[in-house]
């Protein structure tokens, strides 16, 4: 299978993520109310609305790298809070990894996502188990890598990544947070799903949907 990610699919990804954020806005904010400050849904809605205004405009960047970079910049400059720099860094690093590749085959997509997630994790100084979005994103990258290693192709690989992200998200529930606002709660942070892990899962699912 030598499928590759098209510019239209990238745009569809962003649109699907925006839609998911809209649909689950209240839920994300509720998760954040429990162990944070009740704004995660609002933050991402504001950011993805700004991103889509850019994507839907006439001068939408026409290469993967330039589009992803513009998305990252837009998120950094509109979201604020923790998730702004984190998702912003994800897209900026993904953009850098995409470079001037003409086509984004499974390998390239993997490289892009891995760079994005590594950038995000190092921006947040977070590791798996800290109860953050990294807990959803790192397993997703790993699942995609495994799939690519098996030669499964992009749609199947991304589907596996989405499943892994959701599992990672669920796994945050029992954890005591070590990073972000939830860490201030100490033991009281256990028993709640991390809002960032929830939104990150939507990001991976949106990508899987876009290339399905």
């Amino acid at each position: 299978m030598t499928q590759s990610l098209t510019q239209a699919q990238l745009v569809a990804w962003l649109g699907a993520f925006r839609d998911a954020v809209h649909e689950h806005r209240a839920h994300l904010t509720e998760l954040d109310a429990a162990i944070g400050d009740a704004d995660h849904g609002t933050n991402l809605t504001r950011g993805m609305d700004a991103v889509m205004a850019l994507v839907d405009s006439d001068d939408v960047p026409d290469t993967a790298a330039s589009l992803l970079k513009a998305v990252g910049m837009k998120l950094v400059s509109t979201v604020g809070g923790a998730s702004g720099p984190l998702y912003g860094t994800f897209f900026l690093r993904a953009a850098a990894a995409a470079g001037d590749a003409e086509t984004l085959d499974a390998e390239a997509v993997l490289g892009m996502l891995r760079a994005g997630v590594e950038g995000l994790a190092s921006r947040g100084k977070a590791s798996v188990g800290d109860k953050t979005m990294v807990d959803a994103l790192a397993p997703a990258v790993q699942a995609l890598a495994d799939a690519v290693g098996r030669g499964d192709g992009l749609p199947a690989g991304l589907r596996a990544a989405a499943v892994a992200a959701a599992e990672g998200r669920e796994a945050t529930t029992p954890l005591e947070a070590r990073k972000g606002r939830a860490s201030y709660l100490g033991e009281r942070s256990t028993g709640h799903t991390d809002p960032g892990a929830a939104s990150a899962t939507m990001l991976v699912e949106a990508l899987a949907d876009a290339v399905a």
């Binding site: 704004d39 923790a82 606002r181 201030y184 100490g186 009281r188």
Partner: protein, 338 residues
Amino acid sequence: MLREPVVKKLINDPADVLAESLRGVEAAHPELRVDHEHRIVYRARAKSDGKVALISGGGSGHEPLHGGFVGPGMLDAACAGEVFTSPTPDQMVEATTVVDRGAGVLHIVKNYTGDVMNFEMAGEMAAADGGVDVRTVVTRDDVAVEDSTYTAGRRGVGVTVLLEKIVGAAAEEGQDLDAVESLAQRVSDGGRSMGIALTSCTVPSAGRPTFDLPEDEIEVGVGIHGEPGRHREALTGASEIARQLVDPVLADHDFTTGPTIALLNGMGGTPLIELYLMYGEVTRLLASAGVEVARCLVGNYITSLDMAGASLTLLAADEEMVRLWDAPVSTPGLRWGA
């Protein structure tokens, strides 16, 4: 024109709260200048050349912090984020460029992941652009949070107000960037805070209280974002609550070796009559612990929207800090000697 969903606040669309509030700040304070595009509050009359500039910023909902502390003797600019959401790097870069008088800029950052990362990115961007010498001080005074290298560390709360005042005075009198930076670090290091909440607050865009709290319980160890505290306890009298503020602060740092500056801060929904009552209780405990309060503030200075509650901040000061504390300051939120 009814509002949907109904949030019982003096607002229009929850999405417009910050932008519209800044309109009011502009109208009320001719001594300030508001950049609405970047959501930055500046002094109307910039500092003179050769002086270090101070920038702070953070999520909104903590008023008067930070915009209310812009003015002679305190900040040069404040970047306002959405409610409880750190501002973005481009705001900080813009403010940094505008306020620099050639002597460098100090970024005052409260230790929250979002604030730290956004200021960090701003620093990287400013450095990449070249030119401005930017230093950063991160406040982390909240003793409710256990400190550890594996975690996000302590939150920055009340000491930020004291730092902006003291370091602002140092910058105003012409101390250079190295001196300003090291003073800021000393103030940050000497501050400890503890907060409790009687109620949650309501974030406008969320529309309902962030947490529910039974009538007979309080949250102990809260920050300033309506996040729940470390644990809940039964509601007791003010004298007992004062103990819950004072004891952990004194346990964490020695305040008996020099003058102390105290801030008994309201969370936004607590009336002054209660804050003064609490301060009476607090001073009694401090006196019996041998702490000499040289200066104090009682009031709403770093708030959490409409939350009812209070926090105590103590700063182990020195003569120099007390002198700078007494120096003139002229901002909407703090004003004396000018």
